[in-house]
Amino acid sequence: MTAVPHPGPALRIEDLRIGPRRRFRETFIRVAITISATASIVISALIVVSLIGNAFAFVREVDPAQLVTEGWFPRRDMFSIPTILAGTLVISAVGMLIAAPLGIGAAIYLSEYASTRVRKVLKPILEILAAIPSVVLGYFAITVISPGVVNTIHPGVPIFNMAAAGIAVGILITPLIASVAEDALHAVPSALREASYGLGARRLATSMRVVVPAAVSGIVAALILGFSRAIGETMIVAIAAGATGGSLFTINPFEGGITMTAAMTALSIGSDQVAVGTLAFPSLFFVGLLLFAITLVLNLISEAFVRRVRERY
């Protein structure tokens, strides 16, 4: 038996090394995408700097007594923070009253009850609802919700009222709550459900006493996230809650009111006329900083709850 001659020169280790051009390409790409990743940090820094810088100008100039007047009228130097906080809370609370049961109910149905076929049809429809811009829901609030729904519950309300805006905000955040809560329910291992069925529990008992308690952190996270979105919602409130430019302190949902976000849009639209040097322009950033801080804290809490679900399973 004769040895087969080697077909060519032996493969050397140098052949496997990457050449200078490939090495340059590697380094170049690595540097470029690292710079891209840094962009998000630059954006955060810009947000914080621009908010704090201008808000500081406001805090330095404003008389603390101006912050607790009987209403928010920036053109008359009345910057009542309680007024815009109360409006924000009333509208978000109405929104949560609508969205919490609808969103969590829909999540439980989709995750625990719906067949694959039903899911395939219903889920995209919820996604379409989620895609409707808030400015459209604002219009819906003044054309349908306010005259049709709110006026039936409480006849004689003004067309622009906080209840109608709140209901529209609720419709806006329902898909968000449903989708985050459904993810949490989905993450519960099916072994837990099977154990429950094995003990003779029915679907209702399994869902309510086993699955929902196991996913409760995620459901709380969904609610907090929805609340945070409701607080930051702008266009619905700017269109439907009334009180363009200013409002007296009120917590009655059947009156017009003003929120932090609506106060900001009103200031911005009128800000061509606002002379530089008045407090109205920097007050915009003070309110923005307040809103940013509140939503950031809520989002961090929500994220901590989500992490708890992930760690457990």
């Binding site: 490939r22 908010l51 439980i108 700017a238 976000t261 849009t265």
Partner: protein, 310 residues
Amino acid sequence: MATVSAPQMSATRAAVEAGLRSGRRDWAGMIAAFALFLTLIVSLTILFVLLTDVMSRALPVLSARGLDFLAAPNSSNPEIAGVGQAVFGSIVLTIFVIILALPIGITAAIYLEEYAGDNRFARFVNTNIRNLAGVPAIVYGLLGLAVFVTSVGLGRSLLSGGLTLAILVLPIVVITAAEALRAVPMTIREAAFGVGATRSEVVTSHVLPYALPGILTGIVLTLARAFGETAPLIMVGAITGVFRTAADQGGLETLQGPFTALPTIVYSWSKQPQEEFRALTAAAIIVLLVVILAVNAAAILLRNRYDRSW
């Protein structure tokens, strides 16, 4: 030894089964199931009512005006007011988002998923992006107002609006693209590394092609969202009133000039007291929704078509 007869056996079996089923219908369970189903139906009914209501208000305007409504500039006279400038503004803003946010967002996602591993910088960037995604849109508007409009001096222009929108959607682009990249199984990468590919070759020739449908779906949904975003545009000064577009102005002048967008015009018309503007608003909403819903439907189809389980 006592033997159990066949009839006795089946009687025992029936008794045990009846005991387990407790012989009653599960009314509570059925009511609960129905109530849960109802929550979904309520949401869907709202969507249906919204669409039919807007449609019925918009149809007279759309059928009477037709293409003229799409092309005409805004006016304080509802008879001749149209969404021409708004459609133009929205298209330019979307192009801004595509040019700026997509490349930066996708490459940042590649960094986080393919390059960074679990180092401190990557964790920081990741947390940062998640928090940015939760910042209310109006705060991005303030950023645009303070930085682009005032500090950089771009003024209340299309340029400021486009940059602001691009920054607003960037975190969402990163998050959705990173999710799509994460869905590609490790074995694909290992196979490519195994035949000697460098990291960038693994990404461009193996990971990206598999992740592309997922990335595209996310991007399409993001663009739809940017298309309907209103608050930040109002903050950076999208015109809510009437302005004139000169026919002979150049590209740069247009970018530096006043602008409006579809959602902005919906907002400003919905604030008008005259009844005619209600119908006009509905017509503008239909134009807005047709774009957004078509884009969403395309994304859902895309996802269903390329949805693969590994």
